[in-house]
């Protein structure tokens, strides 16, 4: 596959932007005007000089062939990453055939590329020779034991909180506000159990989440109780479930599953952000193995996570699963070719089968909020204030989650359908279905709904 065949679409480029302002600034630079000496190489490098406000133009290089996602270099002082110049350059490259001709990279671009490749080689060599200065295994074991003790203490404390709450009744939680749970969450952070901390913090928000909150609060309390208990008795659990519990508690795992090589179709990519961290989720579907995998990537608040894979492209790569029963999270291993266009689509199921799939997944992981599914031939239907995805040929339908209802992606889905069946990939859980990507019924490009 040559690079020239792998031009991205404007949508795919804009998905790399760290925020809306960058998206806008990048779009403005996606025209030939400010650019000079732009070019691209068959190896997947794009470069150009962008006229800024100063006398010296900015030097911008993007390496889209990098196996760990695109890499950017720009001489501008922006702290956004990628900066608007990199985005503009990629848009220019994506948009006009003659604006970025194939050619030989100039020296300044070549230097950076060579440096990068060298560092990558060194890193690979270092990885191959094992982790440098392997730590004292005895010390590591003692550290792990101390941490387990702390978590056990934390879990005990949390149990106490939960039983106190149920003794006095959930109705009292409404008056208490979430200060109590913030404090509990902080205690769990001290106990080195981030998974418990996050769940405890969420409990605090439930009483103000609208009608039906006592049901949701009881559900979440019960599941937290279940997790506490599972941790305290982890020695008696089967291996897979024990690994799931460890990852739910927040203990780090490593993707040590066997690498699976496949042509991975990028199903969806979306970011969620809190005040400290941006989390990017990328769903992949193995065309040959029919496996669905989740890649996670993190960035500090305000910066886009490094890994970016455009929806609708496929990449030939190895993927290794994290431990745990029914665990979909995986790490991207070696990439054999940069992402390229494909006509492949994931196979779909009916709404009935999708609901069964979520039920079965709970067997391996009762704390699971949602499973990835692709629905075949469904039609979005308005249902009062809400929306459903209904099978085109039967009378059953899945409701959309409350968050999905208020997102602009919903209207892209409705517009794409026009009342006719479409194929939709998304996450199905106890709150409903969240559509992430849709394909028109017969042929056509996928439309991202996030």
């Amino acid at each position: 596959m040559t690079q020239q065949g792998v031009r991205w679409t404007a949508d795919q480029v804009l998905a790399l932007a760290p925020d809306a302002a960058s998206r806008k600034a990048g779009s403005k630079l996606g025209a030939a005007g400010p650019w000079s000496e732009a070019g691209s190489s068959d190896e997947g490098t794009v470069w150009g000089l962008c006229k800024g406000s100063g006398s010296k133009p900015y030097q911008t290089v993007v390496d889209i062939a990098d196996t760990a996602g695109p890499a950017y270099k720009c001489s501008c002082p922006s702290r956004k990453f990628p900066c608007k110049h990199a985005l503009g350059l990629l848009l220019l490259w994506a948009g006009e055939d003659d604006a970025v001709p194939a050619g030989q990279a100039p020296d300044w671009a070549e230097q950076w590329l060579a440096g990068r490749r060298k560092r990558t080689e060194e890193k690979r060599a270092a990885d191959a020779s094992g982790s440098p200065a392997a730590a004292d295994p005895e010390a590591a074991r003692r550290r792990a034991e101390r941490r387990a003790e702390r978590i056990t203490a934390g879990a005990g404390e949390l149990e106490q909180r939960l039983t106190d709450l149920l003794r006095t009744g959930l109705a009292s939680a409404e008056q208490a506000g979430y200060g109590v749970w913030e404090e509990t969450a902080a205690r769990m952070v001290d106990a080195q159990a981030p998974g418990l901390a996050a769940r405890a913090r969420e409990l605090g928000a439930i009483p103000s989440s609208g009608p039906g909150w006592p049901v949701r609060l009881l559900e979440e309390c019960a599941l937290l109780h279940l997790l506490d208990r599972a941790w305290l008795r982890r020695e008696r659990l089967p291996d897979g479930l024990a690994a799931t519990v460890r990852s739910r508690i927040g203990l780090p795992g490593s993707a040590d599953g066997p690498p699976l090589r496949d042509s991975w179709l990028v199903l969806a990519q979306y970011d969620t952000a809190d005040s400290k961290l941006t989390t990017r989720r990328i769903w992949l579907h193995g065309t040959a193995s029919d496996r669905t995998s989740l890649l996670l990537s993190y960035g500090a608040a305000g910066r886009a996570p490094e890994l970016a894979l455009p929806v609708g492209l496929a990449l030939e790569a190895e993927v290794s699963a994290f431990p745990g029963a029914g665990q979909l999270r995986a790490a991207l291993g070696e990439q054999f070719a940069p992402p390229g266009p494909t006509t492949a689509r994931p196979p779909g199921v009916t709404t009935e089968q999708a609901a069964v799939r979520y039920g079965e997944a709970l067997r391996d992981d009762p704390w699971l909020d949602a499973v990835p599914v692709t629905l075949d031939r469904v039609v979005p239907i308005p249902d009062g204030d809400s929306w459903q995805l209904a099978d085109a040929d039967t009378e059953s339908a899945l409701p959309l989650t409350p968050t999905a209802r208020s997102r602009p992606g919903l209207w892209r889905l409705v517009a794409l359908s026009g009342g006719a069946p479409v194929k939709v990939f998304g996450e199905l859980g106890h709150r409903g279905f969240t559509p992430l990507t849709a394909w028109p019924d017969a042929t056509g490009e996928p439309v991202s709904l996030c």
Binding site: R167, A171, A397
Partner: protein, 534 residues
């Protein structure tokens, strides 16, 4: 989704949890077991059971599928361009200095016009962004909705934010009846809502003016005054001498506004009886004075506004601050066919008449009235005479004819002539007054006009002012200059050495402004190419 669990158990658990086990001991709690723990255990089992048992719900009523859009799809580069234009939404970034990059949102109207001219249909997934853009900018709506096609109307029925799309379509989405079927037309005319009736009348008038007038006559006597005014106004389209008897009768209407509109319409018909009556009155007020060295005009404004004048639409009461005699004169001259003056004033051509001196400060009053008459009667020859030579010194000064009047006069001329006149004006007077005049010129600007604007910008830069003094003209130039002119601008892109009398830093800002101009022109050329397809 529907849960298959027995609701009784779960609801019992929730009630107990709400009240607290201190107040209500769960009956199933084994002796010796801690009640809250037992409750949590049971709730955990029940929660997972309920979640695992979720089943799809019954489908709600399905909407009718959208009508298929049979128009051809956009070429791929043009579709990508549209996504980019729509990404640049107002309010998504900081304002401030405009920088060198083009204002994409301002290019959307042109893009839509070009796409519509080629008959392309919109990619369905951009419809929400397109409708949102049109919602914020009413001027975009007609072109955006045409491009968006039938599926946009289908969407608008589902999303209240886009209701405007239904209103914007004629008849509020309910189609007009077959205009060839007199029965249906009569029924809608007799029973329809006001807006529907106006739409119906306008539609018929556009195709068969006579039929529309006859339809109006059938119910004229019973219409309310406001409605009569609107209906009368729709006769403006396709106005001919055949409408005269009806309009003449409307001069006796009970409503003053209806009378005034009827008079205005009649005065636009040079052969109407009203025009003739006005001509007699006006001609009595203006005469050639041969007593001086050179012939000039003397004006004797009317001394009273008699009932006959009032019946012909002359408003008797002058607005505050205007003398009533000059107010009446203005109305008489304005409604007088311009041809009258050539006969009345010694067979002179319009140009000669305009050049005549006018005694006693009546000049501006008289010329302003002639301007209004020339615009109303679409008289190009008089417009030319009143506009005068674009390079005449008074063209830019506080002459008799204001810029707003000039812009209106220009609109009666052909596109080429208009562009040439404005080009001449800019060459002589510079850009500071040209904005309004540029607004009436056809887009893209004709070559001489474009050159005049660029030259004038260049002169303004050399004069040492800042570019934002010309931001209005710059913005227009970005949208209206022919993209083929881009190469002529290359010489202006460099930052010149700062001269002593120039404003500090102006050179850099000008280079930036010209860069944005060139970038925008290139972008427009690219947009046009992309829509042409491979």
């Amino acid at each position: 989704m529907n849960s298959t669990s027995a609701p009784g158990d779960w609801e019992d658990l929730v009630t107990t949890a709400l009240l607290g086990t201190d107040r209500r001991t769960p009956p199933w709690c084994a002796p010796g077991q801690d009640a809250p723990v037992a409750l949590l255990d049971a709730a955990a089992v029940e929660t997972v059971r309920r979640r695992a048992g979720l089943r799809p719900a019954r489908a709600a009523e399905r909407p009718e599928p959208a009508v298929p859009d049979t128009r051809p799809a956009l070429p791929a580069p043009a579709a990508r361009r549209l996504v980019m234009l729509l990404t640049d939404r107002p309010g998504t970034g900081g304002g401030g200095r405009r920088g060198t990059s083009p204002d994409l949102m301002e290019l959307l109207p042109q893009w839509l016009a070009a796409a519509n001219a080629r008959g392309f249909g919109a990619p369905v997934q951009v419809l929400p962004a397109l409708l949102d853009a049109a919602r914020g900018r009413t001027d975009l709506r007609p072109a955006a909705l045409e491009f968006a096609g039938p599926r946009a109307l289908w969407l608008a029925r589902l999303n209240p934010d886009w209701r405007f799309a239904l209103r914007a379509t004629p008849g509020g989405g309910t189609a007009l009846p077959d205009l060839d079927d007199p029965g249906q037309v009569q029924q809608l005319w007799q029973e329809g809502l006001f807006a529907e009736r106006v739409a119906l009348l306008a539609a018929i008038r556009a195709q068969r003016p006579v039929v529309a007038r006859e339809l109006l006559v059938t119910t004229w006597a019973t219409e309310r005054a406001e409605d009569r005014l609107m209906f009368l106004d729709s006769l403006r389209t396709g106005l001919t001498a055949e409408d005269e008897p009806f309009l003449e009768q409307a001069l006796a209407d009970r409503s003053r506004n209806v009378r005034a509109t009827a008079a205005e319409l009649l005065s636009a018909l040079p052969d109407s009886a009203l025009a003739a009556r006005m001509a007699v009155r006006a001609a009595a007020c203006v005469a050639v004075d041969r007593t001086g060295e050179a012939p000039g005009l003397v004006v004797e404004a009317p001394h009273e506004c008699d009932p006959g004048m009032e019946r012909d639409g002359v408003v008797a009461k002058a607005p505050a601050g205007r003398g009533e005699r000059s107010w009446w004169l203005g109305q008489l001259v304005e409604a007088t066919p311009l041809g009258t003056w050539e006969r009345r004033l010694g067979g002179r051509t319009p140009r000669e008449i305009v050049a005549l001196a006018v005694a006693d400060d009546w000049r501006s009053e008289l010329h302003a009235a002639w301007c209004r008459a020339a615009v109303r009667q679409r008289n190009a020859e008089w417009s030319r005479a009143l506009l005068g030579s674009p390079s005449a010194p008074e063209a830019g000064g506080p002459g008799a004819v204001s810029l707003a009047e000039r812009a209106k006069l220009l609109s009666t001329l052909g596109g080429g002539e208009r562009a040439e006149w404005v080009a001449g004006f800019i060459a002589a007077q510079g850009l500071s007054e040209a904005f309004q005049l540029l607004g009436v010129c056809a887009v893209p600007w004709a070559a001489p006009l474009g050159r005049a604007v660029v030259d004038a910008l260049n002169i303004a830069r050399d004069a040492g002012s800042y570019p934002w003094s010309f931001s209005g003209v710059m913005g227009l130039a970005e949208r209206c200059l022919d993209p083929a002119e881009a190469s002529r601008l290359d010489g202006l892109l460099a930052v010149p050495d700062e001269s002593e009398d120039a404003a500090p830093g102006a050179g850099g800002y000008w280079a930036e402004a010209f860069q944005r101009l060139v970038t925008t022109l290139r972008l427009r050329a690219a947009m046009a190419r992309e829509l042409e397809g491979p």
